[in-house]
């Protein structure tokens, strides 16, 4: 099995398209970080967001690098740490804040919370809580694409812990025998709640599991959106070409507790320090300046614009009403 490729060479290298891509990477990664900071560190602590809060701090490169490869007709199945996929698909941050605050303008109108949200018209399928349950569903969506003669693909996201569930294995196996166009993206952040990888699985890498299903897998630097973008292009090409599923394992680290209530005391401090130095957002800004894709002033402008957008989005969401209790029993079944 290949070792982590730290300095992946992107196919756009030297074409000028890299500069353009880097700006998108920075924008979406920083937007995700900002929105989640507000949710986890302010609104939650102010009691304005109730319930579970799970964020992808440190892992932003994964949804961003891969999500920008997907075409509009590809269908995304985000995990609970892939908020940027929603922004890439055109969901406005204000509706995300409303979702977290349980307001009617959230994507589920207050019926579900946090990252449990979807919009079929944007090709975004909501997770359920049960880890890995999306994998068979994404397999079925991919089978349907083939059935319909489309050349689109389904991209499904999950953590390292989710790969221990039967659904993960059943879904991949079915997709593989059916040669369904399914791209599997693992964020291996080395923890599942408090459980470290060593107690999750006895193999070294999630990618090692792919052999059991006869599908290709690769391991990438999960904090480098270019590396993830390039790998996703290979994966999508494979799937669109009728060759079946493809697994990408993104090695990364969860730079926070499992959820907002979790101080993560069980994580050795030095790991936060080491991985903190690999922050995908900081790395991207530095690289943009080094490569001459942008000036420091320009990258700072992007961040300032995001902060302003986020302030406005929160103010908007706070004005969104709570759902009326009369809606409680509506929509369990189709109304005729």
């Amino acid at each position: 099995m290949a070792a982590v490729k730290l300095e992946a060479v992107h196919p756009d290298r030297g074409t000028g398209a890299e500069a353009e891509l880097s700006r998108k990477f920075l924008y979406y990664m920083a937007l995700m970080r900002e929105v989640e900071e507000r949710i986890e560190r302010r609104l939650y602590r102010q009691g304005k967001v109730l319930g579970g809060v799970y964020v992808g701090r440190g892992q932003e490169a994964i949804p961003v690098g891969s999500g920008l490869v997907a075409r509009p007709d590809d269908v995304l199945f985000p995990s609970h740490r892939d908020l940027a996929l929603y922004f890439i698909r055109g969901v406005h941050p204000r509706n995300v804040f409303a979702q977290y605050m349980g307001r009617v303008d959230g994507l589920t109108r207050g019926r579900d919370g946090n990252m449990h949200m979807g919009d079929l018209s944007k090709g975004l399928v909501a997770i359920i809580s049960a880890m890995a349950a999306s994998v068979p569903v994404a397999a079925g969506a991919a089978m349907a694409m083939k059935y319909q003669g489309k050349d689109s693909v389904a991209l499904v996201y999950f953590g390292d812990g989710a790969t221990s569930r039967g659904d993960w294995h059943e879904g991949i196996n079915l997709a593989s025998v059916q040669k369904a166009p399914l791209v599997l993206l693992c964020n291996n952040n080395q923890y599942a709640y408090s459980t470290p990888l060593s107690k999750q699985m006895a193999c070294q890498n999630v990618a090692d599991r792919a052999a059991g299903y006869g599908i290709p897998a690769e391991i990438v630097d999960g904090n480098d959106p270019f590396a993830i973008h390039a790998a996703t292009r290979r994966a999508v090409e494979h799937a669109r070409g009728g060759l079946g599923p493809y697994l990408i394992e993104c090695k990364t680290f969860r730079m926070t507790g499992h959820s907002a209530h979790d101080p993560a005391d069980y994580v050795p401090k030095h790991l936060f320090e080491e991985w903190g130095a690999m922050c995908p957002i900081q790395r991207m800004q530095d690289r943009m300046v080094e490569e001459g894709w942008a000036t420091r002033e320009e990258t700072n402008d992007i961040l300032a614009r995001i902060r302003k957008e986020t302030d406005e989005a929160i103010a908007w969401a706070e004005n969104s009403p709570f759902p009326d209790p009369s809606e409680l029993t509506l929509g369990v079944y189709e109304s005729k």
Binding site: L107, R111, D119
Partner: protein, 323 residues
């Protein structure tokens, strides 16, 4: 020529597949082999591998894939080889399919077919009548036809329905019941009970194979001048409370009968509705007849003792009629 229950289901599926190119089947051994009970026999030859998909032994993936395909606009009909194995796909049914419309307005228009019930010496893992697990989950529709006519009409309605439907086929009925079916395309609405036999003195509210047990008992007591009405629910959720209450208000006495075990069975719900909403019409207690609270046993003597019998129903009918 009369059509059997199993043929009726097959014909219903075939007609829907001919009518709508989005309908496809997935499950274990349903293609080349035609299904463990031959429900899908011949459909692979007619429709090909694209529309009749033999899957690995993966109940969760079968249901999950059906949900995903329905999000893409297809109309999947999934087969569980036995209703007992539905437990392996439970999460996809009760947490995924049942809740996605309510949560984010993404309906899972799937059908999960499940051969259920005892009387075939299948033992603890090939005989269960586990519909109550699903009747307790809002968002699912639970359908259990008792006749060939209803089996065909209801499978067609289930395939056209925009919500997840669990379609429980009773194994003991596949080849036992047959009748002449209406010509051409007809459906039977989900959520409507049927008065299977009219009567004056007492109502038996039941469904699935027990409809026939109730009807046999009704025939026997008719000779003693006791007139029994048999209400076949056909669907547990949505529950046709109106038809049940109408019958009980007419007869003033009610027996609730099912093959599933007693405690926590759907019969408790039916009995509660009757006592809540027709209390002043009742001339006796609402009586439940169900299997005892044990796994379904294998040996013939044990299974015979387990399944509610015609004699048991006759005895309770006489007791309640005299009350």
């Amino acid at each position: 020529m009369p059509t059997t229950y199993v043929e009726a289901i097959r014909e219903g599926i075939r007609e829907e597949m001919e009518r709508d190119p989005n309908v496809f089947l997935l499950g274990e051994d349903i293609g080349v082999y035609g299904g463990a009970f031959k429900v899908t026999q011949g459909l692979l030859d007619q429709f090909g591998e694209r529309r009749v998909v033999d899957t690995p032994i993966s109940e969760s993936a079968i249901v999950g894939a059906a949900i995903g395909a329905s999000f893409m606009g297809l109309r999947p009909v999934a087969e569980m080889q036995f209703a007992d194995f539905i437990s392996c796909g439970f999460d996809q049914i009760v947490n995924y399919a049942a809740k996605c419309r309510y949560r984010w307005n993404a309906p899972a228009a799937i059908v999960v077919r499940a051969p259920c019930g005892g009387g075939i010496h299948g033992g603890p893992f090939h005989s269960q009548q586990n519909e109550a697990w699903f009747a307790h989950t809002p968002g699912l529709k639970v359908v259990l036809p008792a006749t060939a006519r209803d089996a065909k009409g209801l499978i067609k309605s289930a395939i056209r329905d925009n919500d997840p439907v669990l379609f429980f086929e009773h194994k003991a009925l596949y080849r036992r019941v047959k009748e002449d079916l209406p010509e051409g395309d007809y459906t039977v609405p989900i959520g409507k009970a049927n008065v299977y036999r009219e009567g004056r003195d007492l109502s038996i509210v039941t469904y699935s194979a027990m409809v026939h047990t109730a009807a046999e008992a009704a025939e026997i007591v008719a000779k003693d001048g006791i007139s029994v009405e048999v209400v076949d629910l056909r669907t547990l959720t949505p529950f046709d409370e109106e038809t049940v209450l109408e019958s009980v208000k007419k007869t003033s006495k009610a027996i609730v009968l099912h093959e599933a075990t007693l405690t926590g069975g759907f019969g408790g719900e039916i009995a509660a509705r009757i006592t809540e909403k027709a209390f002043e019409y009742l001339d006796g207690p609402v009586v439940r007849i169900a299997a005892p609270d044990t796994p379904v046993p294998f040996s013939q003597t044990l299974e015979d003792a387990y399944l509610p019998s015609v004699e048991q129903v006759v005895e309770k009918v006489r007791w309640l009629a005299a009350y």
